[in-house]
């Protein structure tokens, strides 16, 4: 079994690291630079930056934050929020990102998935999906940070996205996001059973046990961690130790 990846998710608004509930009611947590460096020094496996207002206002503040981080942080960085074109992807990769996550623009123009994958490789193209439960065992795709419904079924969309060239899936449960109630395991399980590319479970992690459940029962390849790290309710090392104690493969660190 491959090692589960621990990913710190940093939601960004303007210059600030923020955190919301159901992707809304955003509160400022602090400086993204300080938090990212702390997680790197604690041994985080990857960083994920999401600009949560970029697609609403059509701008992207992230390039500066990413470019500063890339000077001192030497683990993979994924950046999403407001990426609408191959040009947008190019400029954020030039700033130091390794992968781009695309949601709203991919729904509007699925060809963008193929264009980014062809230009930079599938490993660079992360399909970001915001999912809301609509019935037992059914989820709908939302865009614009959980605000706009699309009518698309999550399972249909993820299969199409992977066929178009997405090399990884960031799967955010809008229902669980910011609630600390644990991941939507049925959602992660349903998606990871349908695709061969890695699935990052996001939304709802309140404690290390939640991570263990979503990997073991949901088949997640990676987990996005925000709240737990931002509010210092656990360190990366403590989370890694808990995962290892539960028998999950993790990166050997330190």
């Amino acid at each position: 079994m491959r090692n589960v990846r621990l990913i710190a998710r940093l939601d960004i608004k303007g210059p600030n690291l923020i955190k919301g509930i159901h992707l809304e009611g955003l509160r400022v947590v602090g400086s993204p630079g300080e938090h990212a460096l702390r997680y790197y020094q604690q041994g985080i496996d990857e960083l994920l930056y999401m600009d949560c207002v970029a697609s609403l206002y059509g701008r992207n503040h992230l390039a500066d934050i990413v470019s500063t981080a890339a000077r001192d942080i030497f683990v993979p960085m994924t950046v999403g929020g407001g990426i609408r074109s191959v040009e947008d992807a190019t400029s954020i990769l030039r700033a130091g990102a390794d992968k781009v996550a695309v949601n709203t623009a991919a729904v509007a123009n699925p060809q963008l998935i193929t264009d980014i994958a062809r230009r930079f490789g599938s490993q660079c193209m992360v399909l970001s999906i915001e999912a809301k439960s609509v019935a037992n065992g059914r989820w709908e795709v939302y865009t614009d940070n959980g605000r706009e419904r699309t009518g698309l079924d999550v399972i249909d969309w993820v299969k199409r996205g992977v066929a178009l060239g997405a090399g990884e899936v960031l799967l955010t449960s809008v229902d669980r996001e910011g609630t600390r109630k644990g991941f939507d395991i049925a959602l992660v399980q349903a998606v990871s059973a349908e695709v061969s590319v890695p699935v990052i479970a996001s939304g709802g992690m309140g404690k290390s046990e939640d991570l263990i459940d979503v990997v073991r029962d949901g088949g997640a390849d990676a987990v996005a961690i925000a709240d737990v790290l931002h509010y210092e309710r656990a360190t990366v090392g403590e989370i890694r130790a808990a995962a290892q104690a539960a028998g999950l493969g993790v990166r050997n660190y330190g």
């Binding site: 491959r2 990846r5 890339a70 000077r71 030497f74 130091g96 660079c124 990676a222 050997n252 660190y253």
Partner: protein
């Protein structure tokens, strides 16, 4: 002491910024170039690369970089191939049909097996952190001198570079039960399948060794 100068080959394949930042963090002056003359005069050369083998060889050929790279390796200039750059060091690749490589280290680039040694399907590409395991060559006096078995580094790849001669194999990783070459070397040419510039302090220790080589 003067900063080590490192030439990073810029041939339009992938994102060079991370490699540049990693080397600079290790105290190097980095020059990005596709100029064959600059390559021929370099003290140390890094060959990065992401994407398909055939495209990359074509991009090197179009820029007249194939022979200069073979020349500098032949005369003992330290050369580090990273990820696809490591695979290019070999004789040939089976990615999209057989394509000739640089032929600096004898061997072939093969697809990672799609099944584990227990015959279960496994995810390709191999993405994530994996541990270095010793292969046939001791690590002392190599770029792995500051690394210990079990240290984890970051991989993203679907193909693997397999040298013909075990004496060119420094370290492997294990994926789905298969041993996959992680670090290969011949003379002063080294290839890393993983991304040292994305592998935290372990990766930086490898780049630091290269800067001092």
């Amino acid at each position: 002491m003067a900063k080590p100068r490192i030439v990073v080959i810029d041939y339009g394949v992938g994102n060079l910024l991370s490699v540049q930042r990693g080397l600079e963090h290790c105290g190097a002056d980095v020059v990005l170039t596709a100029d064959p003359d600059v390559v021929l005069q370099a003290e140390r050369v890094v060959l990065p690369g992401v994407g398909a083998f055939g495209n990359a060889m074509q991009a090197l050929a179009e820029r007249n970089l194939v022979e200069p790279l073979q020349q500098i390796a032949g005369r003992g200039t330290p050369l580090l191939g990273i990820c696809l750059g490591m695979q290019l060091l070999l004789d040939e690749s089976e990615e999209f049909g057989i394509t000739r490589g640089l032929g600096i280290i004898p061997g072939r680039v093969l697809a990672i097996p799609q099944q584990t040694t227990a015959n279960l399907p496994q995810k390709i590409p191999h993405i994530g952190w994996n541990a270095l395991v010793p292969a046939d060559v001791p690590w002392r006096d190599t770029l792995l001198a500051d690394t210990v078995p079990g240290d984890a580094i970051y991989f993203v790849h679907s193909f693997m570079a397999v040298p013909d001669d075990p004496a060119h194999r420094l370290a492997d990783c294990v994926y789905g039960g298969h041993r996959i070459p992680a670090v290969i070397a011949r003379g002063r040419t080294t290839g890393c399948q993983f991304h040292p510039e994305k592998s935290g302090e372990v990766g930086l220790s490898i780049l630091r060794r290269f800067c001092a080589s």
